[in-house]
Amino acid sequence: MDTILSGVVSLMDRLLPFAFAEPAFMKRALLALLLTAPTAAALGVPLVQHRMAFFSDAIGHSAFTGVALGVLLGVSPSWTMAAFGAVVAVVITLVKGRTGLSSDTVIGVFFSTVVALGIAIISREKGLTRNLQAFLYGDPLAVADVELLWMAGLFLLVSAYLAFLYNRILLLGIHEGFARTKGVRTPALEISFALVVALVVTAAIRTVGILLVTALLVIPPAAARNVARGAASALWVSVGVATLSGFAGIVASWYLDTATGATVVLAAATCFAATALYRATRRRE
C-alpha cells in the first residue's frame, strides 16, 4: 500500500512541478478531492433525478450526531459518522415508503431530529466543539494516508455499483411503477442507493464539510443538465466539472489563502454559472 502511495506522490511531483503541489499535505488534499469529488458527482446524477438533494443534506447533517457519538464512545469519529449516516439513510428510506407523508416532510423530521441530538450531545461534553470544527467546514489538508486508501476503495466501490445498477436506478427515478414492471426490485435498490449515498456523503464531509457536502452531489449534475442532452453526457460532464473544480479549487485556495472545501465549492458554482450562460446564449440563437 505504501509503495502505491509513494509511486503516486512521485508521479504528482513530475506532473505538477508547482509550488502549491510541493507540500505532502497538499498532495494528499488534491488526491482526496480527486477521489471524492468525481465519485460524488457521478452518484449525484441519479440522485438529482430522484430529487434526493434534501436527503443527502440530511445525511450530511447526521454527521453532527455521528461525530459526537464517536467521541463519546471513544471510537474514531470517521467510523461512527459513516455508520450513523448509513443507519439514518436506511431509516428515512423505510419510513418514507410506509407513511402517507411526502418524502421531504419525512426527511425534514429526521434532519432536525439528528441535528438536535448531535447538538445536545456536543453541548454536554465540554471540548467537543473543537473536534467538530474540522467536520463542519471540512479539512482536506489534514487527510491521512489511510483515509486516502479508504477514499480510493470507495471510488472503486461506487464505480462498480454504478456500472451494475445505473440503468435500473435511473429507471426507478423516472417512474417507480413502470420500473417495477421492467423487473426493478424497488425496495432493495432504493435502500442500496441510500446506503451508497450515505457512504459517499460521509467520506466527502472530510473534504468540504457538513455544511457544503451536498454541493458536491448537486452542483456538478446541475451544471451537466445545462449542457447535456443524453444520459451518457450528463454523467461525464458532471464528473468533469467535479474534477476540474476539485483541482481549480485547491490551487486557488493555496494562492488566495482561503478554506479549501469552500473554494472547491465556489469553483463548482463558477462552472454552473458558465454552463448556465452557455445554455442561455444557445437558446437565444
Binding site: 402517507g100 440503468n167 429507471l171 423516472i174 442532452r229 443524453g230 444520459a231 450528463a234
Partner: protein
C-alpha cells in the same frame, strides 16, 4: 373470433384493496380474455388505477389474481406491460428517448453508450409507432401525444402477454388514435395478447373494447360492451344525472355528459 375466445389470461376473484382502513376496492370478480380488449371504466376515484396496481402486484390486496397461461403461450410467467398516464419528468432531464429504451434493454450502463442491438430495436419499434424521428429527443420535452406514442412503442418492443394502458387516449391526437387502432389489430392478430384499457372516454370504449368492466369501488357490472353500457348501468356508476347520448359530431360517437354539474 379465434379459437382462443374463451381462454382467460387473467382471473380476478374477490379482490379487495384496503388503504388506511378504507376499502378502495371490494370483492371484485373479473376476467381478461386472450385476444380481446377489456375496458375499465368508472368515475374518478373509482379505483381503476388501484386495480391496475393490484394486477401489477404493487399494492397489497386480499382475494385472488390468477394469471393463466396455456402451453401454447410459451413458458414461464406472463409478461405484463404497463403504460403509465405520464412520466413526471423535468423538461431538463438529460434522458433521451433512446436512453429510456436502453435503460430497460441492456446490461451495459447507459453512460458507457447504447448497444447497437438496443438502438436497432428502439428504432424499429419507434418507426412502427410513427415516431422514429424522436429517437434522440429529450424525454422531458415530448408533447403528451408524442410521449404516449413512445410509451406504446416501448410496450410493443417487449411483447407482453397482458398490456395495461392507463388513460391512453386522453390528449392524444389523430395520429395517436391511428396508432391505438394499430394496437388493437395486433391484439386481434396475436392471441397471446390481451389488453386492459383504463379510459374516461366512452367513445373509445364503445368503438374498441370487446368487454367492459364498470367499476365504482365495487364491480357495477361487466360483460360485452354492447350489453353493459346501458343507461341504467351508467347511472349506477356515474350518478343518476349522467347520460350517454349522441352528439351531432361527424364521427357520431357517444360522449358522457354530467348534466347535474351545470
Amino acid at each position: 373470433m379465434t379459437i382462443s375466445e374463451h381462454l382467460h389470461t387473467l382471473e380476478i376473484r374477490g379482490l379487495t384493496v384496503r388503504k388506511g382502513g378504507v376499502e378502495i376496492l371490494s370483492g371484485i370478480d373479473a376476467d381478461l380474455r386472450c385476444g380481446e380488449v377489456t375496458a375499465l371504466v368508472g368515475p374518478n376515484g373509482a379505483g381503476k388505477t388501484t386495480l391496475l396496481l393490484a394486477i401489477l402486484g404493487q399494492v397489497p390486496y386480499t382475494g385472488e389474481i390468477r394469471f393463466c397461461r396455456a402451453a401454447e403461450h410459451g413458458e414461464g410467467a406472463p409478461r405484463i406491460g404497463y403504460v403509465p398516464q405520464s412520466l413526471p419528468l423535468d423538461a431538463d432531464a438529460p434522458i433521451t428517448v433512446l436512453d429510456f429504451f436502453a435503460l430497460s434493454a441492456q446490461r451495459r450502463p447507459v453512460f458507457l453508450g447504447v448497444s447497437r442491438r438496443t438502438r436497432e430495436a428502439a428504432c424499429e419499434s419507434l418507426e412502427r409507432a410513427g415516431v422514429g424521428h424522436l429517437l434522440r429527443s429529450p424525454l422531458g420535452r415530448l408533447s403528451g401525444g408524442e410521449l404516449q406514442r413512445v410509451l406504446f412503442a416501448l410496450a410493443l418492443r417487449d411483447a407482453p402477454d397482458i398490456l395495461l394502458l392507463d388513460e391512453p387516449v386522453s390528449g392524444v391526437d389523430v395520429a395517436g388514435e391511428e396508432l391505438f387502432c394499430d394496437f388493437l389489430s395486433k391484439v386481434q392478430r396475436d392471441s397471446r395478447f390481451s389488453l386492459l384499457l383504463v379510459s374516461h372516454d366512452l367513445s373509445v370504449v364503445t368503438r374498441h373494447a370487446d368487454q367492459v368492466i364498470c367499476l365504482n369501488r365495487r364491480l357495477v357490472c361487466s360483460g360485452a360492451t354492447t350489453e353493459v353500457l346501458t343507461p341504467g348501468n351508467l347511472a349506477a356508476m356515474y350518478g343518476a344525472d349522467a347520460h350517454l347520448f349522441r352528439h351531432a359530431h361527424a364521427d357520431g360517437h357517444g360522449h358522457l355528459h354530467d348534466e347535474g354539474g351545470r
